[in-house]
């Protein structure tokens, strides 16, 4: 605040001046109207206190509070709008800028006093600047680097290995006779079905389709025994679990942004923002009739990132 404000405009005006009049045409009636609403407000906030005290329903507690505060607010605002002096009143704007002379003085203070110091001690200035600069950079190191591990190969690996037993989330092993044609199940490698890591990375869906419908991808002839096909449940768009299977359309639809993957044709994306097919897991049936993985996924599961080649 500038100095001249405190000394400015000590004025007097008459109470009957038009600018001091309430806006209301009938101030006494307006006052009664406002008083009524302030009284409702009192009832409301007191009601809130009472409702809270007796542990009433949340909606009772909240409604009484809401009505009480709204009524008090309305009363106060109406008082301000209809009964208090409305003016119009005016004030001059503060002069924001200073004169050219003052600006030159400021610039001079910086340049002449500051510049003279650094111009004469260039070595010191340089060393100081270097030190502060380097500190500024290295100060960021603990803020960033300590936050988490380097990604390394983590994104490329899952817990699926050669011989991993397929289990449901409740731990039961998947038998080859379990899923009927047109059925789907979410499976994990045994031991990882209840871990957050397993759920996040290893999640896989198995779908059983009629063996005649299957379009065999080159190199994947043995991957789908008895009509079972296994895909990573992580959408290749943004990583949502692709749980939505439509058995007649034979499409896996991602619920998040509606990418559609063709189940019988290698998980190829048919529509939507997903760019790559769902990685497929090679399965085999072991001697007891249970399903197992032939190995891990052949590519990183989930969305794309820079290092993914």
């Amino acid at each position: 605040m500038s100095h001249d404000e405190a000394h400015a405009s000590i004025t007097t005006v008459s109470i009957d001046d038009v600018r001091m009049q309430p806006k209301a045409k009938n101030p006494v009636r307006t006052e009664r109207w406002i008083a009524f609403w302030l009284f409702i407000g009192i009832l409301g906030v007191a009601g809130f206190g009472a409702a809270y005290w007796v542990d009433a329903n949340p909606w009772v507690i909240g409604t009484s509070l809401g009505i009480g505060l709204s009524a008090i607010g309305y009363g106060l605002t109406a008082w301000g709008k209809y009964l208090m002096p409305q003016g119009p009143f005016v004030e001059e704007r503060h002069q924001l800028g200073s004169s050219q002379e003052e600006r030159d003085a400021m610039a001079a203070a910086l340049v002449e006093r500051g510049g003279s110091v650094f111009k004469r001690r260039k070595l010191l200035g340089g060393l100081l600047g270097g030190g502060l600069g380097i500190f500024g950079v290295v100060a960021i190191f603990p803020l960033l680097r300590s936050l988490g591990p380097l990604p390394g190969k983590t994104l490329e690996e899952t817990n699926w290995k050669r011989g991993s037993k397929l289990v449901y989330q409740d731990g039961r092993q998947v038998h080859v006779g379990d899923v009927a044609i047109g059925g789907i199940a979410t499976v994990f490698p045994k031991g990882f079905e209840r871990t957050t890591e397993g759920q996040a990375v290893d999640q896989t869906v198995i779908i059983r389709i009629a063996e005649g419908d299957f379009v065999t991808q080159p190199g994947r002839e043995t991957w789908g025994p008895k009509g079972y096909v296994a895909y990573s449940k992580l959408c290749t768009h943004l990583g949502c679990p692709v749980g939505l299977y439509e058995q007649q359309l034979q499409l896996l639809v991602c619920p998040c942004h509606q990418s559609m993957f063709d189940v019988k044709n290698g998980g190829l994306p048919q529509f939507g923002p997903a760019p790559r097919p769902l990685p497929q897991l090679a399965l085999y049936v072991d001697s007891d009739g249970y399903l197992r993985a032939q190995g891990g996924y052949h590519e990183p599961v989930g969305p794309g990132y820079w290092e993914r080649s």
């Binding site: 809270y52 507690i61 409604t63 505060l69 208090m84 004030e91 380097l150």
Partner: protein, 519 residues
């Protein structure tokens, strides 16, 4: 002068005379002024605020932030920011026995076992939605009236930053309960960080403390949500208000209003009364919403599990535009030299918002360059008088709205019995066509409105009456206070009010309760 030894005998009249004409208040003012110099603060009491209703939209945001702070403090006393698994044993039956994180369990307990807890949680969430909504319309008002021009460019940038920080804080905040819907948003957030070229994997692993989901993200987000971002937001609100106090509010042109003055009502008592009343009403509306309309019912969603998902999941509305952009973006992902460019994620989720916010930051400078305008502006534009700016703003808002609508393609397809694919394709086209059409349309509307000199203004009514003899008489209606031309000349805020004594107050009340006023 009364002897100190006989103070007990001082009469009330003598004490009153000692205190001076302003009694106890005068004494307090004197004591404080000797120590702090507060008498100079009269300028604050006299401060003039222009009265236009659209200047109050920013206040909605400010009051909502206060409500967020107050309800938020309550919530922090009960919420446990931990991803450790526990078995839920609380009051809500259908969840009993389930393995959930402590964050989720504490939020459910807060909703059902803590008295007033559900009300506070719902008020907090509603206040956040209102906060950002009010910021949007406040920003639109500032933009369309040109209040961002010199000398207020810095305040505009602070405002845009406040918007970004509020959106971020909202996202971080609603992810804290670790429920199925918000957890899905976290997974998407992780993937968006992954998609940044060069540093994406490092960024995501650093923020989440490892691969998704890890155990660090909820505690980290908690501290970001309750301490780090609110501190920055508070500081920026302080700067925003401080700049407003220093540079004073803009005003619309009108009678007696110039570039060098401010016309309106004084801070004390009128503005404070109206502003405080408005604050109470904002809190009242938020409380009514929090009481009567359910929001974020996490007990229905269940806890987050990375292998589970619900259909028809969207982020909160202020993130919805990013979700819509992600849905309609074609599947463009390129590989070159052993590296992947996930443009299908990077473009809608990082580049697009970056461009929008960058445009906002750059706009004052762009306009200054285009008009070669280096003047100070304290008078606002009528949007119809600046058709290029208004049309550009309308086009961008239309684009953002279309992209926002695109985030509910499945809901629209279901509601209107259309194919999902049809709705998605329609959105892809609309997102280009709508802004291109809105711009010239708005431009034309502005031009036509500007040509009508009295569009939107009240007109004096003619009252036609018929006498008993059958003669018609036409008389102009009374002047209405909204007729700006008939307003009195503005005065500086008076310090002393003449005629305001007890006797005057008594005699001024006539018997019929109606005060006669000359206008």
């Amino acid at each position: 002068m009364t002897d100190t030894a006989t103070t007990r005998g001082t009469s009330k009249r003598e004490k009153r005379e000692q205190a001076g004409p302003y009694g106890a208040v005068g004494k307090v003012v004197g004591e404080l002024d000797e120590r702090l110099g507060i008498a100079k603060g009269r300028a604050l009491l006299d401060k003039i605020f222009p009265d236009h209703w659209s200047f109050m939209l920013g206040e909605i945001a400010l009051y909502s932030f206060v409500i967020l702070l107050a309800t938020g403090v309550f919530l922090t006393l009960y919420y446990v920011p931990s991803q450790e698994e526990v078995i839920y044993h609380g009051v809500y039956g259908p969840l009993r026995g389930m393995h959930v994180t402590q964050a989720y369990a504490s939020t459910v307990d807060l909703s059902f076992s803590v008295r007033g807890g559900l009300l506070m949680r719902q008020m907090h969430h509603w206040a956040c939605n209102i906060f950002i909504g009010a910021m949007v319309i406040h920003m639109a008002r500032v933009f369309f009236t040109g209040a961002f021009r010199k000398p207020r460019e810095l305040n505009w940038s602070i405002g845009v930053t406040l918007m970004t920080l509020a959106i971020l804080n909202g996202f971080v905040g609603y992810s804290l309960p670790d429920d199925l819907v918000s957890g899905t948003g976290l997974r998407i957030g992780f993937s968006i960080l992954l998609s940044v070229p060069l540093v994406g994997t490092y960024l995501s692993f650093f923020v989440f403390g490892g691969n998704f989901p890890g155990t660090a993200v909820i505690p980290r987000f908690f501290i970001i949500h309750v301490l780090l971002l609110p501190l920055v937001i508070l500081g920026m609100i302080g700067a925003h208000m401080g700049l407003l106090a220093k540079q004073q509010h803009t005003q619309f042109p009108g009678k007696g209003r110039t570039e060098k003055n401010v016309v309106g009502t004084p801070m004390f008592p009128t503005f404070i009364a109206k502003a405080t009343g408005f604050f109470f009403m904002t809190t009242g509306v938020t409380a009514l919403l929090g009481a009567l309309v359910a929001i974020n019912p996490i007990w229905i969603y269940g806890p987050y599990d990375a292998s589970k998902i619900s259909y028809a999941v969207q982020p909160d509305w202020y993130m919805g535009w990013l979700d819509g952009a992600a849905r309609i973006m074609p599947a463009w992902e390129f590989s070159s030299f052993g590296h992947t460019w996930p443009l299908n994620i990077f473009v809608p989720a990082v580049l697009f918002p970056g461009l929008i916010f960058g445009l906002c930051y750059a706009w004052p400078a762009l306009e200054r360059r285009r008009h070669g305008d280096n003047e100070l502006h304290n008078l606002l534009d009528n949007p119809r008088d600046v058709p290029h700016r208004t049309a550009a703003g309308a086009a961008v808002l239309a684009l953002l709205f279309t992209v926002f609508v695109a985030s509910s393609t499945d809901v629209l397809a279901n509601f209107f019995h259309l194919k999902l694919d049809t709705v998605l394709w329609a959105m892809r086209f609309l997102v280009i066509i709508i802004p291109v059409v809105v711009y010239p349309l708005t431009f034309k509307v502005c031009q036509e409105l500007a040509e009508l000199s009295d569009a939107g203004k009240r007109k004096r009514a003619m009252i036609v009456s018929r006498t008993a003899e059958g003669e018609y008489v036409a008389v102009e209606a009374d002047v209405h206070p909204e007729d700006g031309e008939h307003e009195a000349d503005a005065l500086p805020v008076p310090t002393f009010i003449e005629g305001l004594s007890d006797d005057a107050a008594k005699t001024a009340a006539p018997s019929n309760g109606v005060r006669q006023v000359d206008r």
